[in-house]
Amino acid sequence: MNLDIDKLNVKVGFEIHQQLSTSSKLFCSCKGDGSNDEGYDFNFIRVLRPTKSELGDFDKAALFEHAKMNSIKYYSKVGYSCLVEADEEPPHEVSKDALETALLFSLALNSNIVDEIHVMRKLVIDGSNVSGFQRTMLISTGGYLEVDNFNKIGVQGICLEEDAAKLISTNPLLKEYGLDRLGIPLVEIALDPISGTPAEIVNVALTLGRLLRSSKRVTRGIGSIRQDVNISVNGGQVVEVKGVQQLSQLIKVLDYETKRQYGLIKIAEEFKNRNIDDSFIGDKIEDITSLFSNSSSKVIKKILKDPDPIINCIRLRGLRGLIGYEPVKDVRLGKELGEFVRFFGLGGVFHSDELPNYGITINEIDSLKKSVDVSSDDAFIIIGGNREKISNLLEPLIKRIIQFKYGVIAETRSVTLDGTTIFSRPRPGSSRMYPETDIMPIPVDRNLLDSLKNKIPLPWNELIKGIMKKYGLNMKLSEQIFDSDYYNLFERLLITNPTISPTFVASKLTEDIVSLSRNNLDKDLLTDEMILDIFNRLDKGLITKESIILIFEKLMKKDCLSVEEAINSLNLTKLDDTDLFSTLDKLFDDNLSVIREKGPNSMSVLMGKSMAVLRGKVDGSKINDYLKHKLETFLNEGSSPSPSS
C-alpha cells in the first residue's frame, strides 16, 4: 500500500536533547564527560514510589511505571558521581557554564528568555533517575529556526535539564544503572510540528544540530544528541518516539509510525462501523486454566510451568476478525496487544483471529468458546502466566483495547535498532512536574544576557564561510570537518602543529576515517590522543603523510593498540636520504628497458613501483621529485646521473 503522506497530514515535532560539554555536571562538581566504564567502585539498591504533584495529582506515566516496578541497582564511580547523584545530598547550584550555554542557544534561536528560572522535578520513576525525578528548567519560550525550504520553524521552548543514568542491564527482577551519565547537562529544544518530505524533516534536525555544535559547547559522538520525535497524522493524538540517535534512523521511524498510525485509524473506523461499546470489551473474563491442563501446545506448557500459573480468556464482544485485521502491512491490533503485554513481562497474547495455531487445537478452542460463551461475532484473547502478574495486567489491557476505538493513542514509544517503535508508556502529563525546592529560583540577569551577545553561535552558512576563510578549506571539506566528530580535534591539531596543511588534516580526519569506517573498521578505537600523536610525529618528520591512513587502519582494525606499535608493525621508520636514493637508483636501473620504451610516460610506472616499496616511509612528493629529475636528466643525456647530482 502506498500511503499518501500529504493526505495523511503527517506532523512531526522535534525535541532535541543535546549533551553539553561542561567541566562539571549540572548540579554537582563531578566530571561531566562520562566515564569509560573502567569498573565501578560502589553499588546500592533502591526502590521508587510515585508521588503527587503539587497540584495533588498522580501522573499517569508515573503510576504506570510503578505498576511494574522492581528494585534498581545503581553503580557509582568516584569522581563521576557523588552523594548528589545517589540522592543522598541536595543538589548544588546550577552549573554557570551550562546555564550560560542554554541562554546562548535561546539567544541564537530568538527565543524569549524567562525572567526567572524555576528548577522543576519531572517525575521519572523507571529508575533512570535515582531521585525518581529529572531536574529540568524552562529557559525560554518561542523563537524560531531558519531552515532551507521552510520559512521559520517555530521553537516551543528551550529547557536545561540533567541527563539520566545509563542502563546497564534489565531483567524482570532488577534493573541496573551506571551513575556516571546522570546529571550531565542537556539542553532540550522543542520545535513546532512541521510537515514535509522525510529529507526536508531530516534537514531540520541537521540544521538545528549544526547550530548547537557551532557553539563548541556541546559533546559529540553517538548518544550525545538524541531526538524525541512527536508524530501525529490527520491531527490525531501525538505519539512521542524517544531516543532517536541517528538521522538515518529518523527516516525509518517516520515511515514506520506513519504507517502504524494510519493503520490504527483504519482499525478505529472498523470499531465505529461495528458500533462497539466500551462495555463489550472484556465483559467476560474466565479462568480457563483447567481447559488447557493437558494441552500439547509448547507455549501453553511453558506458561503452566510459571509459579502459580493462570490462563485467562477475555471475551471481546463483536470484535471477531478485528484483532487480526491488517489494514496496512504489519499493523494489527493483535501485534499492538502483544507488544503491550510483553511490556508487563509476558510472552504475548493469543487471539481468536489467529487460532488454532501454536499447538492449540480446534477442540480446545471449541471448549473454550463454550466455557466463555463466545459467539461467532465475538473475539477473545488468551493470556497466561503468573497469577499476580496477570491480575495486574487485566485492567490495563482492557483499557488499552478500549483506547483503540479512538485511533491513535497518545503515548511514548521507544525506537528499536531497525527503526521501528515499541510501546513504552502513556504520555506523561503536566502533573509529573513539581518544583525542586532545594534550589532557589534564578533571576535572569540583564547584564549576563548583554555579556553573552557576542558569544551567540553563528548560523550554519556563516560558520562554514568562517572555516573556509580561516583554514583555506573548500566548502565541502569545511562542511565535512565541521559535521564530523573531529572538528574540535582538528582545531587543536592545527594549533599544536601549525606547519601541517589544514586541508590535509581535514581530509585525513574526514575522508580517510569515513572510508575506513565503511569497511566496518571501528573509529572509536582511534582515540583523540592517538590522532594527536600521529600528527605530532608527522610534524616532526618522523613519519610520512602516506603512512597516516595505514596507521589509522591498523588501529581501527585493533591490529595494534598504540601508535608506536602500529608504526613498528608497518615498518614505517622513515628512510634517510642515502638509503632512499640508492633504493630509487636501483629501481631506476632495473627498469631501464621500460624507460627507454616509454620515455617521459614511464614516470607513472616508476612511481607505482617505488610507492609499492616505499609507501609510508618516504613522502611521495619527494620520490616524485627525485625520479622526475632523474628521468629528465636520463632522457636528455641518455645516461643515468650520479645520485649526488
Binding site: 514510589r49 497540584l55 543522598e88 525572567d115 522543576m120 503536566s430 518544583p435
Partner: protein
C-alpha cells in the same frame, strides 16, 4: 478531605505574595490558583498562578504553564493579566479526580470504622501512628520555599496506601514541628500521650513520626520518661523528603511496622536506613543512637556497638548483646511514667582556645547542671580548673562526656582527668553527650535530692550506659 496541598487552603493564598505583588494581583482581580493569560512586553503565557515563597524576591509572579513548568514573570514586564476562570465559585485548580480517592483511610474516625469492618483474618499489628512533623511528613511549602511538615499522619497514610498490607495503622496528629523546634515540653506532651495509650488503649506498638535532626534527643527523653514500657515504641524519620519517589520514609515506616509485628521486646527504638540501599532498616535503642550525617539515609548510627536489630527483606536479625532486660512485658504493672523535664541543663563543648572566663557567667545564671563535652577520655584545659571548682562549690553539677562520640570517659588515666575528678567533675561513662543532657533534664525534672540526682545520672536506666563495649 484536605489532602491536596493546598493551593485551595484559605490561609496560604493571602499570605504568599507579599504586599507589592499582592497589590499587583489585586489590580487585575486575580489570585493564587486562577487560570490566567499573562501578557508581557515579550510574549503571552497561559497558566495557573502559583503561590510564591515568602522569602523570595517580591518582583515576580510565579506561573505554572500547561507544560508543567513554573516560571517567574517580572511584574515590571507584565502589561495585562486576564482571568480565564469562567466559574469563579470553583476557582481552585484541582478539579481532576484523584487516584488516591480509593484509599480507604483518610482520617482517624474513618480508619477506626474501616478496620472494624475489615477482615481480621490477617494477623496484622494494631499500631498507633503519632505524627509530630519532620521530613517523613513533609511537603513543599510555598511560604518558605523549602520542604516543610505539612502532612498529618493521616495524609501520610493516604500517601502510602500499601501500608495497609503491613498493619492496622491508627494515625493521629499530635503536633507539627521541625525537629529543631522541639523542646522538653514537646517531649512531655508526647510521653504523656504514649503513657495514656499504654494505660487506656490496646496497641501492639506505637510509631512516632519525627523530624530527624533531634530525633535521638526525643528517643532518649521517651526512654527515660517511660520506664518498663510494655510495648515497642518506634521513632521513625526520613532523611529524604517524602515528596520524592526515592524517599526513605516508606521503607523506614514499613521497617518499624515489621519490627513491631515481629519483636518480643519492648522499649523505645529508632528505625532508619542501615545503609544507603533501601534493603536493610536498622533498629536502634533510643538512648544509644545519634544522627551522624546531614543528609544521608543512614545518618543514624548506634553508638558503641551494632544496632539492636537489623530488619532485612526476609527476616529480622537481633543483636544478642543488647537483649537483657528489654523482653516485652505483658503486664504493664511495672510501667512508670515520669514525663517532666527541667531545662536547667547546659551542654558545653570544649575546644582548644576555649576561654575559661566564659564559665564565670554560670555563676549568675540558674543552670543547675553543666554537661561538658570534653576531649578524649574526658579532659578540658587546666586553665578551666579554678572556675570549675568555683562552679561546683556553688552547687552546680558538672558532668563529663567525650566529644569522641565513641568510647568511655576514663578520667583516672591522665593527670588532667584525675585533677578534674578531684574538683568534683563526675564522669558519665559511655553515655553520649546528647543522651546525658536529656537524662539530666529528666532526672532534674523528676527528683530533688542531690545524692539521688548524682546516683540516677550514674545508674543505667535505659541502656544508656554499657559496662562492656563490643569490639566492633
Amino acid at each position: 478531605m484536605t489532602r491536596n496541598i493546598d493551593l485551595d487552603s484559605h490561609d496560604i493564598s493571602d499570605k504568599n505574595y507579599s504586599r507589592n505583588s499582592q497589590k499587583f494581583l489585586n489590580k487585575f482581580k486575580v489570585s493564587v490558583g486562577d487560570e490566567v493569560k499573562i501578557v508581557t512586553k515579550k510574549a503571552e503565557f497561559f497558566g495557573i498562578i502559583l503561590p510564591r515563597y515568602e522569602t523570595f524576591s517580591d518582583k515576580y509572579i510565579v506561573l505554572k504553564l500547561k507544560s508543567g513548568y513554573n516560571i517567574g514573570i517580572e511584574i515590571e514586564n507584565i502589561i495585562e493579566i486576564i482571568n480565564k476562570n469562567v466559574d469563579h465559585l470553583s476557582k481552585k485548580p484541582i478539579t481532576k479526580s484523584d487516584p488516591s480517592d480509593n484509599v480507604p483511610v483518610n482520617d482517624d474516625k474513618n480508619s477506626r470504622n474501616l478496620f472494624d469492618k475489615m477482615n481480621s483474618s490477617k494477623l496484622l499489628p494494631k499500631i498507633l501512628l503519632i505524627s509530630t512533623g519532620g521530613t517523613i511528613a513533609s511537603k513543599i511549602d510555598y511560604r518558605t520555599g523549602g520542604v516543610t511538615s505539612l502532612l498529618t499522619a493521616s495524609e501520610l497514610y493516604s500517601a502510602f496506601p500499601e501500608l495497609s498490607d503491613y498493619g492496622y495503622i491508627y494515625p493521629e496528629f499530635l503536633f507539627n514541628e521541625y525537629s529543631e523546634n522541639m523542646n522538653p515540653h514537646h517531649w512531655s506532651a508526647l510521653a504523656d500521650r504514649i503513657s495514656f495509650a499504654i494505660s487506656n488503649e490496646h496497641y501492639d506498638g506505637i510509631i512516632v513520626s519525627h523530624g530527624t535532626d533531634t530525633m535521638h534527643y526525643t528517643s532518649s527523653a521517651l526512654s527515660f520518661a517511660l520506664q518498663n514500657i510494655p510495648i515497642p515504641v518506634v521513632l521513625v524519620g526520613s532523611q529524604r523528603s517524602s515528596d520524592r519517589p526515592s524517599s526513605d520514609a516508606f521503607s523506614n515506616l514499613v521497617g518499624a511496622i515489621r519490627f513491631i509485628k515481629d519483636t518480643r521486646y519492648s522499649g523505645i527504638f529508632v528505625c532508619m536506613h542501615h545503609n544507603t540501599s533501601d534493603e536493610v532498616i536498622a533498629c536502634h535503642l533510643g538512648t544509644r543512637v545519634r544522627k551522624n550525617h546531614t543528609s544521608k539515609r543512614d545518618a543514624f548510627k548506634s553508638l558503641n556497638g551494632m544496632p539492636f536489630a537489623l530488619i532485612e527483606n526476609s527476616d529480622i536479625k537481633y543483636n544478642k548483646l543488647l537483649h537483657n532486660g528489654i523482653q516485652r512485658v505483658n503486664i504493664s504493672k511495672n510501667f512508670t511514667s515520669r514525663t517532666a523535664f527541667s531545662d536547667k541543663v547546659f551542654l558545653l563543648k570544649f575546644y582548644p582556645g576555649f576561654s575559661p572566663s566564659f564559665l564565670e557567667n554560670f555563676l549568675q545564671m540558674d543552670y543547675k547542671v553543666i554537661i561538658l563535652e570534653g576531649t578524649g577520655l574526658g579532659h578540658v584545659s587546666k586553665d578551666c580548673f579554678p572556675i570549675l571548682e568555683k562552679l561546683i562549690s556553688s552547687g552546680i553539677f558538672v558532668f563529663m562526656t567525650s566529644q569522641c562520640i565513641f568510647g568511655t570517659v576514663q578520667m583516672t588515666v591522665y593527670d588532667t582527668g584525675r585533677d578534674l575528678l578531684g574538683l568534683g567533675v563526675i564522669p558519665l561513662s559511655n553515655m553520649s553527650s546528647e543522651t546525658s543532657v536529656v537524662k539530666a533534664m529528666w532526672a532534674l525534672g523528676n527528683n530533688t535530692g542531690v545524692d539521688d540526682f548524682v546516683r540516677i545520672m550514674k545508674t543505667d536506666y535505659s541502656n544508656e550506659i554499657s559496662n562492656m563495649l563490643p569490639l566492633v
